[in-house]
Amino acid sequence: MYRSWTSHLWRYLLILIAVLIVAYPIVWMGTMAFKPFQEWTTVDGVHWIPEKGTVENFLFLFNGEVESLVVTLDRTIWKPLLASVVTASLGTFIAVVIGTLGSYAVSRFGVGMNLPLSVLQLRLFPPLAVMIPVMVMWAFIGAIDTWWGLSLIYAIVTLPFSFWLMKTFFDEVPVEIEEAALVEGCSRWRVFYRVTLPMVKAGLATTALFVFILNWSDYLLALLLTRKDWVTLPVYMSSLASAMGGQMYGMKAALGLIAAVPPVVFGIMIQKYLVRGLTFGALKQ
């Protein structure tokens, strides 16, 4: 389509503004992570570039102490990092596997009548409304502050997303493709993993990333269902304050940078599929 240069100008201007709005806090976080304590808050306004760049914020998180600061951490980043990786990954894995298999059954065989909607009702309430009963239940089965307890609740609350996303992808696969494979001598299972699943792998990757980001960034569930051992990164971040030093902005920024790494890496890994996944409806039939 032909566009005049003015319409191009407006387009890019709009994109630029959007990028600025999104990038501003990220850049702020990026530079803050490398600022020493003295530069965190200044009376003479904001410095974007750290005057005396340092990696001490990171060292502090990992070691619990640095020479330049008198305060120490009683908990380093290691355990929360592990907790986040384990619970977010496991929760994602369970939600995606169940969501994929379940939505395939619904999409292809029309089983479970109201199942799609009853899955959706998991998201109808604000999480807080159900979290107190969930806490009681989790306490009852001994799931509070365990890796499996948190993974389980992550899987449950993200199941609607994986279920519905995967369902739309499966709905897009023409049924004739599967029938062709059936006629060509495949069993139902073989059709699923040799034909259908490869055809929706872009969607699968997109769904997994989406669900992972949801789990990775959760604060509320982890706050309520963990105490000490399996505290995740977001909850840990909120604890980064001390009576003496106040809010540890540098450490929080450093933690934010670290926390951004897995989703970004994951995203780059599946970038090829991501565009396909998001534009899946354009598949030639």
Binding site: E176, I177, E179, V183, E184, G185
Partner: protein, 367 residues
């Protein structure tokens, strides 16, 4: 090789009777077309033969063995879909090898069969392309090749040519014929295009509303239609069907049209058929290409008509005539020079007229 026999095959979707007690014998190595308008149950029938759809009732026999409960993968049929249904996440090679692999064939054998098939379908230079990049025509070639490569005794094609462009369609028609000669399969071909059915098939089964209307060779179905549906469906433009009555007296039999016009029946076949009619009210049928047009002064038998519309279609011209209230179409060679509004006489051909019961639509006195 394989004979397919359907015995009172029925498929019900809820309230809808998609296929109603269908009996059909498809002889070994024959090319049979299932022909009918969309929604007539032809694709459902095909799916039941393939095992994609389960039958509600009846039997499906391959060489006398009932396969109705056998899963699709064990029936050993080839199936080509209207929308190709090729595996777009695989290369052309992988597509062609798919059926062989899932049947447990090994490396070198697959390689040979796939390259042979690619050559036959003229896909050799596309063999390692991702199949999503193929043109529509090539996709359908891959789909046909993928089904043919396992050399099934039964080959089912569900409107395989309907999405292709006209030139390629004509080419594929002959290719399919060659394919059948080479592999000697029993072919069942679903189509709504009667020309395709006429040109390809040894036998045509015309279906409507889930019921078999007529089953016979293309010429039989074309020349001796069982009922008004078949008469109307076969041929383009379709057969003229006019309300008429059988009249006569004083030793002659006449066909009279309510809007005026009549002619004396003087060919034996039609005379015999008229005599076996139990009802006076009939539908009179004659194909547009069989009717002759004469000047209005013509003295022989015929019906007076007025040229209402002239539709030139290249080699021929379709002349629309007003006969009383009704319109009939007549195909004449191009340049026959019938002017709009002129009076003419339509002469119905001997031995090529049809009469049907006005109520049931069934042919009267068909032998």
């Amino acid at each position: 090789m394989a004979t397919i026999e359907l015995k009172s095959l029925t498929k019900q979707f809820g309230q809808l009777l998609a296929v109603n007690s269908l009996d059909l014998l498809i002889p070994d190595r024959k090319f049979v077309a299932l022909l009918g308008p969309s929604g007539c149950g032809k694709t459902t029938t095909m799916n039941m033969i393939a095992g994609i759809e389960s039958a509600s009732d009846g039997e499906i026999l391959f060489d006398g063995n009932n396969v109705r409960t056998l899963p699709a993968r064990q029936r050993g049929v080839g199936f080509v879909f209207q929308n190709y249904a090729i595996f777009t996440h695989m290369t052309v090679y992988e597509n062609l090898a798919f059926g062989l692999r899932s049947r447990g064939m090994k490396g070198p054998e697959i390689e040979k069969k796939v390259t042979d098939m690619a050559e036959l379908m003229r896909l050799t230079d596309r063999l390692h392309w991702p199949s999503a990049r193929l043109s529509v025509n090539e996709m359908q070639k891959v789909a046909i090749g993928r089904s043919a490569v396992t050399e099934p005794a039964i080959f089912l094609l569900d409107e395989p040519l309907s999405n292709l462009d006209a030139a390629f369609r004509a080419f594929m028609r002959t290719e399919l014929k060659h394919l059948q000669h080479q592999f000697q399969q029993t072919m069942v071909y679903v189509t709504h295009d009667q020309i395709e059915a006429m040109s390809l098939a040894d036998m045509i089964a015309v279906m409507n509303l889930g019921v078999l209307q007529q089953y016979g060779t293309p010429i039989e179905v074309y020349n001796r239609p069982n009922n008004t549906f078949v008469a109307n469906f076969m041929g383009s433009p379709s057969m003229n069907l006019l309300d008429a009555t059988i009249g006569g007296g004083d030793g002659s039999t006449r066909i009279e049209f309510p809007g005026g016009g009549q002619f004396e029946v003087n060919d034996e076949d039609l005379l015999r058929r008229c005599k076996s009619a139990t009802t006076g009210a009939i539908k009179f049928g004659a194909r547009p290409e069989d009717i002759a047009l004469e000047p209005s002064g013509h003295t022989g038998d015929g019906v007076k008509a007025k040229v209402n519309f002239v539709e030139p279609i290249g080699p021929r011209t379709i002349v629309h005539l007003a006969v009383g209230e009704e319109i009939i179409k007549v195909v004449v060679p191009k340049g026959s020079g019938f002017e709009l509004g002129s009076d003419v006489k339509a002469v119905f051909p001997k031995g090529k007229c049809h009469i049907f019961d006005a109520e049931t639509g069934n042919a009267i006195g068909l032998e």
